[in-house]
Symmetry: C2
């Protein structure tokens, strides 16, 4: 067991956990790998393999205890605690994030927000005072935010990410359409909507080319 775990495995673990929480709320006690597989589009073997990287959680002939597996996955994914986010850039996307209750509900609290726009600085957005960029480092040190969120224009995204890393965050979530490179082992995930749309564009064009030429 153990070793290096792939992104796709971790991704699926999150999906399993979601379903398990639903089952827990519904009062279900045991669940099988095939039931667990369904909503994430995985196979039962994949569920078992994914879990087996971390230990042995099931009972043969019976399945997995819902409660037990919820706790185990929360522990594995680091979700038995909550995380603090520092948001840089309170524009369209930044504001949407601040107003999105789904984050806090799942243990991700935005505890600080920064912007360069003098008109925004000092005002409050969803109960949070917007601070100038110059306060980024001391504020993050003070509030202990672990995750930095980059919601700035593309041009400054790399610079902001570097500044967040120097301020001591342990991970970065980036919304700018640019591939930021990990430094000092600080992992970065990029949410790139245009990239997703272009992926769909490819698939639709491809479908058109196929039906168009082959009949």
């Amino acid at each position: 067991m153990s070793g290096r775990i792939s992104d796709s495995t971790v991704r699926r673990l999150s999906l399993y956990l979601r379903m398990l929480r639903d089952l827990e709320r519904a009062g279900v006690e045991f669940v099988s790998s095939s039931q667990l597989a369904e909503p994430s589009g995985a196979t039962s073997a994949q569920v078992r393999k994914d879990l087996s990287h971390f230990g042995s959680f099931g009972k043969r002939g019976r399945g997995y205890s819902v409660d037990g597996l919820v706790r185990a996955l929360e522990e594995i994914l680091g979700l038995s605690r909550s995380w603090r986010l520092a948001l840089v850039g309170v524009g369209k996307i930044g504001s949407a994030l601040l107003g999105y209750g789904g984050l806090a509900a799942r243990g991700f609290d935005v505890v600080a927000a920064f912007d360069v726009d003098e008109a925004k600085i000092g005002t409050r957005a969803h109960g949070l005072r917007i601070r100038p960029m110059r306060e980024l480092r001391p504020a993050i040190a003070e509030c202990g935010a672990e995750i930095g969120v980059v919601a700035t224009p593309t041009e400054v995204a790399a610079e902001v990410a570097a500044e967040l890393e120097r301020a001591g965050v342990g991970a970065i979530l980036n919304f700018a359409p640019i591939e930021l490179s990990e430094v000092n082992g600080v992992p970065i995930r990029t949410v790139d909507i245009v990239l997703e749309l272009e992926g769909l564009s490819y698939l639709m064009s491809e479908a058109g080319r196929r039906t168009g030429s082959d009949g």
Copy 2:
């Protein structure tokens, strides 16, 4: 050449195209696979392999013509035209999308917006009239939107996706934290922010466990 192209290849092609457009704007005429590889974190061999699935675009000893490769990739990815999006759900995320100029700038125009909230219906958001759900099918037929965007609460996301599919869209972009299953060959991409954050949470916890126990 050709065959089934992986998502990761298509993803990289988009990144190459981005860089190529920057180079084109800067007046550069030729580019090598290694230069092209750098910003997307790929290797030069990967760039060449990715492109080789679609044809032979380079000149040995010289590299790729920037203009030529821009046109070729636009053609491959279906980006030599523009696409029309129909947005369902004008809440936090939906509004942010409507206000985000980056979409239209890259050829993705939101041409229709729908919501269930009586208070929103009939009002305008960023120049677009918000329509009731009951108009979804005729409106999409009329305006010819190819891509449906689901920005609704999780509970209704699956139903909305099915309705979009019936209305005739060719692809769906989903922002609800739920794995929607493709039906009738209509591809679906999900942008799931919580999933990304949980992935970062895993990596940070993992890092902590390593340094915590091994020294």
